[in-house]
């Protein structure tokens, strides 16, 4: 056991280093800043490189370059910074370069950005949404494994609470099994062989193959890889109190923990409420959500935004039960994602109203 008292940002930084990350680039922005601080301090100690990039545009570019050499690499920001990175994120995916991207988000308004992608073209990212520091340590390590396994960017969706809360955390290394060989990465050594490597969002064929760039073929190949990834990456979800539940609450990330506490309190009072918490936002755990909501009278979705994940919940439930939104954007004046509504009593009241409405 290596339990330490750490801030979430430092725990995530340590988890990245444990996962083998040796290159990080970023630009300060609340609440992401401390991750950058810790990486700037820690990476050189383990032979890695942390770049204080001149903007998020260069941060993602530097991480792209390092990742193309097969070096486990990451970058991150808040959703605003990730908006700047979207063009590169789209192309990195089409170039099939593994990369881990952190979004220490302000509240949960970046769900669509994370799961639909804010960039151009047909691509998907795996999205992992930890509810607390311990889960973040595990999922951050899983993110590096999945990125390498699928040669695709993986996003870790955190928030202010995750980044800035201190707690006791076990930093043990997680094992996920063997990875495919990194035979595609660049180091210069294939030059002059007649088959020098290329890493490009435009394609992998060279004119000496008799083919060259063919965007129709390349985009089709990428789409097939994305479909395999979407079908084979195991969707993760946590469920609880589903037996006899008449109302099921759905929430992800930090609010998932508050919703779980509210559901537990309602159960203590004998009220038939359960919950399901998506952990992978892509692939969305549709089967787990559908199963959790089978036969219930109503589904209640709590998000700290105007209602984004609710669309995926509705697609999973497919009209078999009414899906109500019990969340809403809740911020203090800083806008950093500190939510007055993120309170077990508030969530409990909203769930009780759904329960009342669900009564025949």
């Amino acid at each position: 056991m290596s339990t330490r008292l750490l801030e979430g940002s430092e725990a995530i930084a340590e988890a990245m280093i444990t996962a083998g990350c040796r290159f990080f680039a970023g630009y300060p922005m609340t609440p992401f800043t401390e991750v950058l601080e810790h990486m700037a301090r820690r990476l050189p100690q383990v032979g890695g490189v942390c770049m204080n990039a001149e903007s998020e545009l260069e941060a993602i570019g530097m991480a792209w370059g390092a990742a193309a050499t097969g070096t486990p690499a990451a970058t991150g920001s808040t959703g605003q910074g990730l908006s700047l990175m979207q063009e590169s994120l789209a192309e990195i995916t089409l170039a099939r370069v593994p990369l881990v991207v952190l979004n220490m988000a302000r509240a949960q308004g970046d769900y669509f950005q994370a799961t639909r992608g804010g960039g151009h073209g047909d691509y998907r990212h795996i999205v992992l949404a930890p509810m607390d520091m311990q889960e973040a340590v595990e999922l951050t390590q899983l993110a590096f494994h999945l990125a390498a396994e699928w040669r695709n960017p993986v996003l870790v969706f955190g928030d202010y609470y995750l980044a800035h809360t201190m707690g006791s955390v076990d930093l043990r290394r997680a094992e996920f099994g063997p990875l495919p060989p990194v035979d595609w990465a660049l180091d210069g050594s294939s030059g002059g062989s007649g088959r020098a490597k290329i890493v490009s969002p435009l394609g992998t064929h060279k004119r000496s193959d008799g083919a060259g760039y063919n965007l129709a073929d390349h985009y089709r190949t990428c789409a097939e890889a994305t479909a395999r990834m979407a079908a084979q990456v195991k969707p993760l979800a946590e469920t609880g109190f589903l037996e006899g539940a008449e109302v099921v609450a759905v929430a992800f990330g930090t609010p998932g923990k508050y919703v779980r506490a509210a559901v537990r309190a309602l159960r203590d009072d004998g009220l038939p409420v359960g919950y399901v918490r998506p952990i992978t936002l892509f692939p969305f755990p549709s089967a787990a959500v559908a199963e959790a909501c089978a036969g219930v009278k109503a589904v209640a979705v709590y998000e700290n935004n105007q209602g984004q994940m609710i669309e995926d919940v509705r697609l999973a439930v497919l009209g078999r039960a009414p899906v109500h939104f019990i969340g809403g954007l809740s911020l203090d004046s800083s806008g950093f994602g500190i939510a007055p509504d993120l309170d077990v009593r508030v969530i409990r009241q909203r769930l009780e109203r759904v329960l009342d409405g669900a009564k025949p």
Binding site: M51, W64, G65, S88, G188, G192, K206
Partner: protein
């Protein structure tokens, strides 16, 4: 500069098709034929770069990072490793490559639209950091790939498709002389501007590229060569007149020469 010069229409195929005059394809270019326009200067500049790589004996540790422009035709055509970047972003990718693999020999190829318009801050910061990479900028003063539109290096008076009467400072501002700008930065070890419009200029440009690459191999810091290239299609001039047009117009503003060489100071 438009006076006395015939404006060549580019909305129809040329009456005289392209023909191979002589094949100068160097070893490191896989397929010699390219789909660039007759009279384009970019293949000449690429030849100087890959010949220098071969002569310096760094073929098996070279990673070229390409921007987006007509020259991207060479990103899947070389027998050195290539990382294809987005338009404007090659210097930050090159930075990531070099920091992750310090033993690699890393160069970028970008055009003026890519480097000076879309991604100007990238090259400035890369130079200021003294990043030990070499950036090559093929400067023809137009967005060639879109058909001849104004860039940040288009000279005053130059016709483009979105400055039909010629660039004027009142409406379009002044050109950025990138090599001159970069030469002021402490992190830059070698900065030069060459051209490929004459045999003499091709020869000195090859020397400049070799010197820039040598600076990287010595670990001296950032090195940069701007290469003025012909774009008769984007300039709407006769192919045969393009070298002279370059000399009279582009090179009159973007002046050829070595602007900084720390190894000689």
């Amino acid at each position: 500069m438009t006076e006395g010069r015939r404006v060549v229409p580019t909305d129809a195929p040329p009456t005289e098709p392209a023909r191979l005059v002589r094949d100068f394809t160097p070893e490191l270019i896989d397929v010699g034929t390219h789909h660039l326009c007759p009279g384009c200067g970019e293949p000449v500049a690429m030849r100087a770069a890959v010949e220098a790589i071969e002569e310096l004996g760094v073929v098996q540790r070279t990673i070229g990072v390409f921007g987006i422009g007509c020259y991207t035709a060479f990103s899947n055509n070389l027998d050195v490793e290539v990382l294809q970047a987005l338009h404007g972003r090659a210097p930050s990718l090159a930075t990531g490559v070099k920091r992750a693999k310090p033993d690699a020999f890393v160069f970028t190829v970008q055009g003026d639209g890519d480097m000076v318009n879309e991604g100007l801050q990238e090259v400035i910061h890369t130079a200021a950091r003294g990043e030990n990479v070499t950036c090559l900028m093929l400067n023809n003063g137009v967005f060639g790939e879109t058909g001849g539109h104004m860039t940040a290096t288009t000279v005053i008076g130059q016709r483009t498709k979105n400055s039909l009467e010629g660039r004027n400072a009142a409406d379009h501002g002044h050109p950025i002389l990138l090599a001159n700008l970069l030469a002021q930065l402490d992190g830059a070890a070698y900065v030069a501007r060459g051209a490929v419009n004459t045999a003499h200029n091709v020869a000195i440009t090859k020397q400049m590229v070799t010197a820039a690459f040598t600076a990287q191999l010595a670990g001296s810091g950032f090195s940069f060569v701007e290469i003025l290239t012909m774009c008769p299609t984007g300039w709407f001039v006769d192919t045969a007149e393009a070298p002279e047009y370059l000399g009279d117009n582009l090179a009159a503003v973007h002046r050829i020469g070595v602007l900084k060489d720390l190894s000689r100071e």
